[in-house]
């Protein structure tokens, strides 16, 4: 059976423009059974790209009131890089409490989780999910999906970079290095990790890291998927 991540990547591979990014954000919401999904990026040159599932009137109000200045989630994530549950940010000041009331009325949801993303050349993005479930349900949901959410946010961001902002396509990140090609080729030939590591005269730990870096460049869900993608793109032959 196809995993949610594999399905997400399939949807992502069809993205051709920013309107498609919006469609993928909506599809991600449905795929992961979550109330809202938001992606927001700022290029090194200061251009913004936004895609979200919130009601348009909340989004309009947010822009009109310039809430980005007081939104504690944005303040807590901007130019940082550790993932944040919205419970971890400071909602205590009066203006922030007022903002929170309005956000709840706007249908944002009382639970949320955000992944700040640092891209190349000073690019920055934020990927957030939110919902209205109970604290217990939310804790279980995030435990189960946090790794997927980190990856979904980063892959979405890779795609937006590819679409060509002022930062240009992330070509340097997409090309596999010769060592990564060696690793995927041996795995494609059916070598075990231990055998591949030995053949390449590197440690198994180093090999695992090269699989990770290749997987990220290829936009793959797992090792098998990475080998398959590299084959399809003609990056390796076995």
């Amino acid at each position: 059976m196809q995993t949610k991540m594999e399905r997400f990547l399939e949807l992502l591979s069809d993205v051709r423009d920013y309107q498609d990014v919006q469609k993928v954000v909506e599809a991600t919401r449905d795929l992961y059974g979550i109330e809202h999904v938001v992606y927001h990026s700022k290029s090194g040159a200061g251009e913004h790209s936004v895609a979200f599932t919130y009601a348009q009137n909340w989004a309009d109000r947010y822009v009109e009131k310039d809430y980005v200045r007081i939104d504690p989630v944005v303040q807590g994530c901007y130019e940082r890089f550790h993932p944040v549950d919205w419970k971890q940010v400071d909602w205590s000041s009066k203006t922030v409490r007022q903002f929170h009331r309005e956000a709840l009325e706007g249908g944002v949801g009382r639970q949320g989780f955000s992944v700040p993303i640092r891209g190349p050349h000073g690019q920055f993005a934020m990927f957030s999910i939110s919902d209205n479930c109970s604290d217990d349900q939310w804790a279980r949901y995030t435990d189960e999906h946090v790794r997927d959410m980190i990856l979904v946010g980063h892959y979405l961001n890779q795609k937006v970079l590819e679409l060509g902002s002022a930062d240009g396509p992330a070509e340097g990140q997409q090309a596999l290095s010769p060592r990564e090609i060696d690793v995927l080729t041996l795995l494609g030939l059916g070598y075990s990790r231990a055998q591949a590591a030995e053949s390449l005269n590197i440690s198994e730990h180093t090999l695992r890291v090269y699989i990770d870096t290749a997987r990220f460049k290829l936009g793959a869900a797992n090792t098998t998927h990475a080998v398959a993608k590299a084959l399809v793109r003609g990056l390796i032959t076995v």
Binding site: S203, H205, D212
Partner: protein, 211 residues
């Protein structure tokens, strides 16, 4: 105590920041004599990565000064390993949402082994709590013994130079078992370590005050 603090927040801790950057000058310029390091007019050793809002892990002494520290950056952005040490990674740029870079592991003059252990424990906490798979780091030969002593040695990917002048790129893996061992050796309870972490990053367990 351990503090996790982004560069942009260092201004709230002037004494801590000042002593950290001075101790880095002592370690990297005066003791290790690394040619690439630069020290500014304040006696602070800083490089371009300090200007990228890195996350610092800092051991703060009781008098508020720096006892030891390291610097953390995500590998999806610019990192020292990818900019300057590709010849030590078989030419593979290390870029993954699940790998962060650790550099500038520094100890204050007279720092005890427990401080080094506390910093390593903090690195482990970061990896486990932020769902990472590996850390990649640049370190000098002298550090290998320190890492080994605390029971969390890196896998060395590549080394240049020899003897005391050697510089290596290494990889660490995160695990709960090693976390417990590090805490024990550093003389820090897991509960205290958790407390320090949540003091810096907030707790997701308690619902914040709302409407």
């Amino acid at each position: 105590m351990l503090k996790y603090i982004y560069a942009e927040d260092l201004k709230t801790q002037p004494k801590l920041a000042d002593t950290m950057f001075r101790h880095r000058a002592l370690q990297f310029r005066d003791r290790l004599k690394w040619e690439s390091v630069t020290v500014d007019e304040n006696g602070h050793e800083r490089d371009e990565y300090d200007a990228m809002n890195p996350l610092y892990v800092i051991w703060q002494n009781a008098d508020g000064t720096h006892g030891g520290s390291m610097r953390v950056l995500p590998t999806t952005g610019q990192t020292m390993v990818n900019d300057h040490f590709l010849h030590l990674t078989n030419g593979v740029p290390i870029i993954s949402p699940f790998i962060w870079e650790s550099t500038r592991f520094c100890l204050a003059p007279g720092a005890t082994p427990k401080i080094a252990g506390a910093l390593m424990l903090a690195g482990m906490e970061i990896g486990l709590r932020f769902h990472l798979d590996h850390a990649v780091g640049v370190f000098d030969a002298r550090m290998v013994r320190v890492y080994r002593y605390h029971g969390w040695a890196p896998t060395v990917v590549g080394t240049e130079g020899a003897g005391r002048d050697a510089i290596s790129v290494g990889l660490w893996e995160f695990s709960e078992d090693v976390r417990a061992r590090l805490a024990e050796k550093a003389g820090i309870s897991l509960a205290l370590s958790e407390h320090w972490f949540e003091q810096s990053f907030g707790s997701a367990r308690v619902m914040a005050q709302s409407a």
